[in-house]
């Protein structure tokens, strides 16, 4: 009798997804899919609204990464008012970057400490009732305390630049609303009320030491779990090809490191990308047109960014990148679990960047907004915590949005997440008579490495919980996992 496994909802990811695994009569895996079952709506919902509302409205896509949507939309709307990224005033660029680094820092801290660390610290087969952040807090209170304060630091940066921690408003068409005061920035530098940015760098380095120690003890797990060849996509600095999170060119490489997208300007993305829909999921499958659907898909996010960049401009993070690259002899890293390591390098990078910006007097300037000649179209691309995020708007003569296209990080990672699920299905569940909770959790571990934000990916409004089901050959459900 064939069997089919469904995980729904997948836990400790942002949003609601579903995994189905079909087994045959010999318990061999026939098929494994990661579905997104929420309906997308934001691209239509925003049509007809004045363009200046976009950066505010799109934040409602997500309570976890609203800043990323805010900034991507703001960059697109800058173009509508005739201001290209390089024409933004220097203080406005730096304030936006500070906001963005605060967001990436807190989001990565959230993911590592709250979502990934339970599997790493407690084990993928630990009792599920304690295999969560609370279990980590009980077992490793000092790590938990640091995680809490790192996340708080990033959120306080967001609060300073955007007015509040969630759904604040920093950007205005052509610039930013406010500058930073000396008193505001001292809060992050002097360490009197909260641990300083210098402490954030120190703790980020400690976390990297932790992952290296973990790697030494669990090398085979990290090296093999959900490993598969893939393309990698990310923004790189326009001048030197270094890691870039706010504004850069798009670069992609294949699984061997050959360039497949050669530093193209953001505005040209539409010439290179195509999104295909499948009937079994609301999440589309983007790929590079010139490579086709089979070869043109890419991972995005921390691992992809570290793979595609030529270097990192901050010294500690660059040192860590070099060590990271040594693990694969300088070649492309296609090992999914190294995404956690790459994420920690980016935590360090953003901490170093925040330190540099907080010490920069340009933040105090009142040169905040620029104007240009009105256009009908705007494209904003940034690197959100989870990967490349594309916002594209067209507006009419009455300033109303007539078309909106969003390609979010988790959409790019759709094919990679499906490959990861297939890997676990084939390597962990295949031929097993008994499907244990620990086995099912490993499906989630593979998905979780991508830190997917499913509400973002489907542009849904509302909550989205994940769900695993196993079906037999006759399509009878024989196992189900729901944690709610």
């Amino acid at each position: 009798m064939n069997r089919k496994i469904v995980i729904d909802p997948v836990t400790r990811v942002e949003g609601h997804g579903k995994v189905t695994i079909q087994l045959d009569e010999n318990n061999r895996v026939k098929d494994a899919k990661f579905h997104i079952v929420e309906f997308r709506g934001f691209e239509r919902f925003i049509q007809g609204h004045p363009y200046w509302e976009a950066p505010v409205m799109v934040q409602r896509l997500c309570g976890i990464c609203p800043v990323s949507h805010h900034l991507a939309a703001a960059k697109a709307i800058d173009q509508i008012v005739g201001v290209d990224p390089e024409d933004l005033s220097i203080p406005a660029q730096k304030i936006r970057k500070l906001l963005h680094f605060g967001q990436v820092f807190q989001s990565h801290a959230l993911h590592f400490f709250y979502l990934a660390s339970p599997d790493l610290l407690l084990g993928v087969d630990a009792d599920p009732s304690i295999r969560n952040v609370v279990g980590v807090a009980m077992e490793y209170p000092e790590i938990a305390k640091k995680g809490i304060l790192m996340r708080k630091f990033g959120q306080e940066i967001i609060k300073m630049t955007a007015g509040k921690r969630i759904h604040g408003i920093a950007a205005t068409p052509g610039g930013v609303h406010k500058n930073i005061t000396v008193k505001e920035r001292e809060y992050f530098l002097d360490g009197k009320e909260i641990p300083s940015v210098h402490t954030m760098i120190e703790w980020s380095l400690e976390m990297l030491d932790f992952i290296k120690t973990y790697h030494n003890k669990h090398k085979s797990f990290l090296d093999t779990f959900a490993k598969y060849p893939s393309g990698h996509l990310g923004l790189v600095n326009k001048q030197n090809g270094f890691l870039e999170l706010y504004d850069g060119n798009l670069r992609a490489i294949d699984a061997e490191g050959n360039i497949t997208l050669n530093d193209i300007p953001s505005d040209d993305y539409n010439q290179y990308f195509y999104e295909e829909a499948e009937r079994w999921t609301y999440l589309k499958f983007p790929y590079l047109k010139h490579l086709g659907k089979e070869k043109g898909w890419n991972r995005v996010g921390p691992l992809a960014r570290i793979n595609v960049c030529s270097g990192i401009e901050t010294p500690f993070a660059e040192q860590e990148r070099l060590e990271f690259m040594e693990m694969t002899g300088g070649k492309v890293n296609n090992m999914t679990m190294y995404t956690h390591w790459a994420r920690l390098i980016e935590i360090l990078y953003t901490a170093e960047m925040m330190k540099n910006l907080l010490q920069d007097d340009d933040l105090l300037s009142n040169d905040l907004v620029r104007k240009g000649e009105r256009r009908k179209e705007g494209i904003g691309i940034i690197e959100a915590p989870r990967g490349t995020l594309i916002h594209h708007y067209e507006v009419d003569d009455k300033d109303r949005i007539t078309r909106c296209n969003l390609i979010v990080s988790t959409t790019h990672n759709n094919e990679p997440m499906n490959r990861a699920v297939q890997w676990v299905a084939n390597n962990v569940l295949d031929r097993k008579k008994e499907i244990t909770e620990s086995m099912l959790n490993q499906v989630e571990v593979a998905i979780r490495a991508y830190d997917p934000c499913l509400s973002c990916a489907t542009h849904a409004m509302g909550q989205m919980p994940l769900h695993l089901q196993i079906f037999d050959a006759d399509n009878n459900m024989v196992k189900e996992l729901i944690r709610d």
Partner: protein, 152 residues
């Protein structure tokens, strides 16, 4: 309950979803009535790091909309520490956050939950008439409970 030190009010909810805004609107009203008297924090949902925030206070009141109250405008109860068994790290109950404050920070503020009855939670700004009445009743009760009516 009598004010004996720093008090934090935590409003939980979302003003974009009708009566789910009760917690936030309660804080708005209290801040209007007694400016500077309480520290207030607005949350869509409680998260782990809120445990650290609680550790700085002697008294904490969580204010949230309540959908399951029958024939009551609100409910006031002691917040008890409760080890959470939940899959998500993004939405914790007040008792779970309080448990973390106790366990990680070894702090034990006097904590309460004020649940105010609401009945509609759709995507819309503004309270229902039902919730408006309950909000006022909760405000009246709270002022007495906190013994601040004649002291401000």
């Amino acid at each position: 309950m009598e004010i004996t030190g720093k008090t934090l009010l935590v409003g939980i909810g979302n003003i974009g979803r009708e009566d789910d805004g009760l917690g936030w609107l309660f804080l708005d009203k209290i801040s209007e009535l007694f400016p500077g008297y309480f520290d207030v924090e607005y949350r869509y949902q409680l998260q782990v790091e809120d445990a650290e925030m609680l550790s700085h206070y002697q008294q904490v009141v969580f204010v949230d909309a309540h959908a399951g109250l029958q024939n009551k405008a609100f409910v006031w109860q002691k917040c008890l520490p409760e080890a959470p068994e939940t899959f998500t790290s993004h939405e914790l109950e007040p008792g779970a956050v309080y448990y973390l404050t106790n366990t990680i920070y070894k702090k034990y503020p006097d904590a309460y939950v004020l649940g105010i009855a609401g009945k509609s939670f759709e995507l819309k700004i503004g309270l229902t008439d039902f919730a408006k009445v309950n909000l006022q009743k909760a405000l009246d009760f709270f002022q007495v409970k906190m013994q601040i009516v004649n002291t401000v």
